[in-house]
């Protein structure tokens, strides 16, 4: 018998594909631009990933700073734990969303970005989406800190599964009467709707390629991991690049790369190189854990599990159901975009989506990674799991972690559940084979 010893924790070199390097470059450039903004006289807008109105901000020459992405970066760089503690020490409750606390902790520690340089104070806070109530409080907290212009752009909830005229009217009115005038005031730039149309046109092109890439996972074996890898893919379009030529380039490049992988019959790239044989195809609901991202991912690829579709890659927009930014109806299109964000869809819609993914992507089952922080995602997931299981007949499993709070990542516990889940799928298959 071989003796299993603790895994050697020697950090191996991370293997990246070209698109990932390109993506990293873009992000790095963006952070440099942010850090340079004060010296270059650029103004900065802080806003959120879901409902991100990058095209609109670009019309005013505003640089987009996303506190959520900063929190993710802190998570990946293992800083978030300290930041969260910092925020808790300053009186924030242990119970609330750790995204917020990571951001607040980071501010109180000098607001140093992932490039090691100080991030600029925002000139305007654009609360562009309210599909999560935490966002609202988050921005009230930021407003208290920065004392700058704060814009509330209220997004009604898609409670009945449809977008009504009144909703669009309400949102367009907010844009016209409140959001745009305030952005003009902050930036000193007059709004030019044609410029917005141009940005939206570019968004749609990149969106087409993104959707193609995400849907490439329908191939067997899947050339991509639509969760762990997917997070890299959505970076530019959910962040500061939507509506730019950079984004168009990136997605075209990515698409080519994936096309090649399909042609070669390859699976996804993992930090340890090409993934071995594809053994399990999963649909994942819920955000990932960032503090132990590689360790978490490894638990999947070591077992040959690949995620073929995930809801998290829809937090910044559900493009795969047909929505595209539309230069013809620019303001309406922005409103519709916000309304369509994944967490703004009611639970029945979310269940339908997951069911659909399991069928279309021929998945073995649904895995829910429930995030302690995020009520917007998590409240109701246990019911969603049951529904999807009932409708598809495929087994589901449930694990619990957190986005950026390392205290809620318990490797032994998660590994135990994942292993049991994979063995269960295996056993089921063997059972089916035996029965056949």
């Amino acid at each position: 018998m071989t003796i299993i010893t603790r895994p050697a924790s020697k950090p191996a070199d991370i293997i990246k594909d070209a698109s990932m390097s390109k993506q990293k470059d873009m992000m790095a450039r963006h952070y440099e631009r942010l850090s340079d903004a004060p010296t270059n006289g650029e103004k900065v807008a802080a806003t959120f990933v879901p409902g991100n109105l990058n095209e609109l901000l670009m019309c005013f020459g505003l640089v987009n700073n996303l506190p959520e992405v900063n929190a993710i970066q802190s998570g990946l760089r293992k800083q978030s734990g300290g930041y969260v503690m910092e925020a808790e020490k300053s009186g924030h409750s242990e119970d609330v969303c750790t995204y917020v606390k990571s951001d607040i902790g980071m501010m109180s520690k000098g607001n140093i970005g992932p490039n090691g340089r100080k991030l600029p104070d925002p000139d305007v806070l654009l609360l562009s989406y309210t599909g999560c109530f935490t966002f609202m409080k988050w921005f009230e907290l930021l407003r208290q800190q920065y004392n700058c212009e704060t814009i509330m752009f209220h997004t009604p909830y898609m409670a009945d599964g449809k977008i009504t005229k009144d909703m669009i009217k309400y949102m367009v009115k907010q844009l016209k009467q409140d959001v745009i005038p305030k952005l003009e005031k902050v930036s000193g730039v007059k709004f030019d709707i044609d410029l917005l149309r141009e940005h939206l046109r570019k968004s749609a092109i990149a969106e087409d390629d993104l959707v193609w890439v995400l849907q490439s996972a329908k191939t067997k074996p899947s050339p991509i991991d639509a969760y762990f890898g997917g997070i890299y893919y959505i970076g530019p379009i959910f962040g500061a690049f939507r509506g730019t030529d950079d984004a168009i380039d990136y997605y075209r490049f990515l698409r080519q790369e994936v096309e090649e992988r399909i042609a070669e019959g390859k699976g996804p790239v993992t930090p340890d190189g090409d993934m071995g044989q594809e053994r399990y195809r999963l649909v994942v609901e819920g955000p990932p854990n960032y503090t132990h991202f590689r360790q978490f991912w490894k638990m999947f690829y070591d077992e040959g599990a690949v995620v073929v579709a995930s809801s998290y890659t829809k937090v910044g927009g559900t493009y795969d159901f047909g929505f595209r930014h539309d230069p013809v109806n620019p303001l309406e299109s922005l409103a519709e975009y916000c309304l369509n964000v994944y967490t703004n869809r009611n639970l029945p819609m979310r269940v339908d989506m997951l069911e659909n993914y399991i069928d279309e992507y021929q998945a073995d089952g649904l895995l829910i990674n429930s995030i302690k922080s995020c009520n917007s995602f998590s409240a109701g997931q246990l019911l969603m799991m049951r529904e999807v299981e009932k409708r598809t007949g495929k087994p589901a499993a449930f694990i619990e972690t957190d986005l950026v709070d390392p205290r809620y990542f318990s490797p032994a516990n998660i590994k135990n559940r994942l292993e049991s889940y994979f063995q269960m799928i295996e056993q089921k298959r063997a059972g089916l084979r035996g029965a056949a």
Partner: protein, 437 residues
């Protein structure tokens, strides 16, 4: 003969099951999971092999001259005496270790008086040992730590009083020694212990085997039979720390599902309440797991909770159930934090609530949590099997029956006296399948 062994390394107890090629259980062994998992696994499988010997003895004797009653009586006596021999051996080890402590700086000042006191305590322990293993005697538990510990307390209390040595310091000597003793792998030759036990039996009651003269020879024969360890599968909480390679390890969920299916092929829902986790498992007609749910990171409401309560009330684990059964007005308990359990207990006692009512409430709280985990995994489908250590607790079982009936109607509820071995049984079957398939 070829045997297949399954080991379930639980957070509180380690269980082993020995299976033969025909899928028959030969032996079961259990021990407390101590600080050394490898030892625990060894002790449990050793115990299973000892138990296996008794199965083989029975088989051998039943085909011989002795009649059923006699076999029963003889094997009962043999087992009790075997346990006694084992106990005395470990007691000797404990005594030596305790006395060894006296050389340390901590006890140096009082070494003389303490040595005397310890000698006296151990003298009393040895003197009463046969009574502990007398027919019909009730022991606090079957684990050396528990039996020796509780009796040590009693005698140390008395001796301390008589010899003016502080009670605390005697206990401390015990506390300091017990880990070492229980983590020492079992020593001595097993056959030798059987022989000694045999001698005792025949010494005490030589007439026991009157009319069945072939008994000693048959026993001797059986002892000669080798129990070959053909394949082994480990599971349970501590399985990752087991020194086994990956193919020898299975998830405890699958093992529990399979084990329950082996005991009750019609079972569809399994509830397992162990020391620090609770699992709800749905299995299909061939014992394959279809769904499962476990408690989250908080261990509130699991078996260990009862352990704390028992410690707090200075009772044995198996005494909790019977006391709780006396209540007909369970208190409503909302917080099941294991560690706060003691505090809540004191709180309520000081408010004048009755012990049995509080206990009954605590049991209900545990089961309520379990029911919600089952509900999470998809509810209860006929038949339902309750496994794990807590299934031994009658008060917990009573609440469970009540709640299952209220929520899922008339469902067959299986509770096996050997339910604590369910996971090990499944593991053993996986071991068997790895070789014989």
């Amino acid at each position: 003969m070829r045997t297949f062994i399954g080991i379930d390394l639980g957070s509180t107890t380690t269980k082993a099951v020995l299976l033969d090629e025909n899928r028959d259980v030969i032996g079961r062994g259990i021990t407390n999971s101590r600080s050394n998992y490898a030892t625990a696994a060894r002790v449990a499988s050793e115990e299973a092999r000892i138990d296996g010997r008794f199965t083989l003895f029975r088989r051998a004797l039943e085909s011989g001259e002795a009649n059923g009653d006699l076999v029963q009586a003889f094997l009962g006596a043999l087992e009790r005496n075997f346990r006694l021999v084992q106990f005395l051996e470990q007691l000797g080890d404990l005594e030596e270790t305790c006395l060894g402590q006296l050389k340390t700086e901590r006890f140096a000042k009082v070494a003389d008086r303490m040595g005397e006191a310890l000698n006296e305590v151990f003298r009393r322990l040895r003197a009463e040992a046969p009574d502990l293993y007398a027919p019909g005697a009730v022991r606090k538990s079957d684990f050396f730590r528990d039996i020796a510990g509780s009796r040590f307390h009693v005698h140390a209390d008395a001796v301390a009083e008589e010899s003016a040595v502080p009670h605390e310091i005697l206990l401390n000597a015990y506390d300091k020694s017990i880990i070492d003793v229980e983590n020492r792998p079992p020593s001595g030759d097993m056959s030798d212990k059987f022989h000694r036990a045999m001698e005792r039996v025949l010494e005490i009651d030589p007439h026991l085997i009157d009319g069945a003269n072939d008994v000693p020879a048959r026993i001797e024969n059986t002892l000669g039979l080798e129990l070959e360890e053909t394949y082994l599968v480990g599971t349970g909480y501590g399985r990752v720390t087991l020194p086994f390679s990956k193919e020898h390890i299975r998830s405890e969920i699958l093992c529990h599902g399979l084990g329950a299916h082996m005991m009750y092929p019609k079972t569809r829902t399994v509830l397992d309440i162990g020391g620090q986790d609770t699992k709800g498992i749905q299995v299909d007609g061939s014992g394959i797991v279809a769904n499962f749910q476990m408690n989250d990171r908080c261990a509130a409401g699991c078996g260990r909770y009862l352990g704390y309560i028992a410690d707090e009330m200075n009772m044995g684990l198996h005494e909790l159930g019977p006391l709780a059964m006396k209540s007909n007005r369970p208190a409503r308990i909302n917080s099941t934090c294991t560690v706060f359990a003691g505090a809540e207990l004191r709180d309520r006692l000081s408010l004048g609530e009755k012990r049995e009512d509080i206990l009954a409430g605590l049991h209900r709280a545990i089961i309520l949590r379990a029911i919600s985990i089952i509900s999470r995994s998809g509810g209860v489908t006929d038949e339902f099997t309750f496994t794990g250590g807590v299934a031994k607790n009658e008060a917990a079982v009573r609440e469970l029956r009540k709640l299952i009936k209220e929520n899922y109607g008339d469902v067959t509820i299986n509770i096996n006296p050997d339910s604590i071995y369910t996971g090990a049984l499944g593991a053993a079957e996986f071991a068997r399948r790895a070789v014989v398939s």
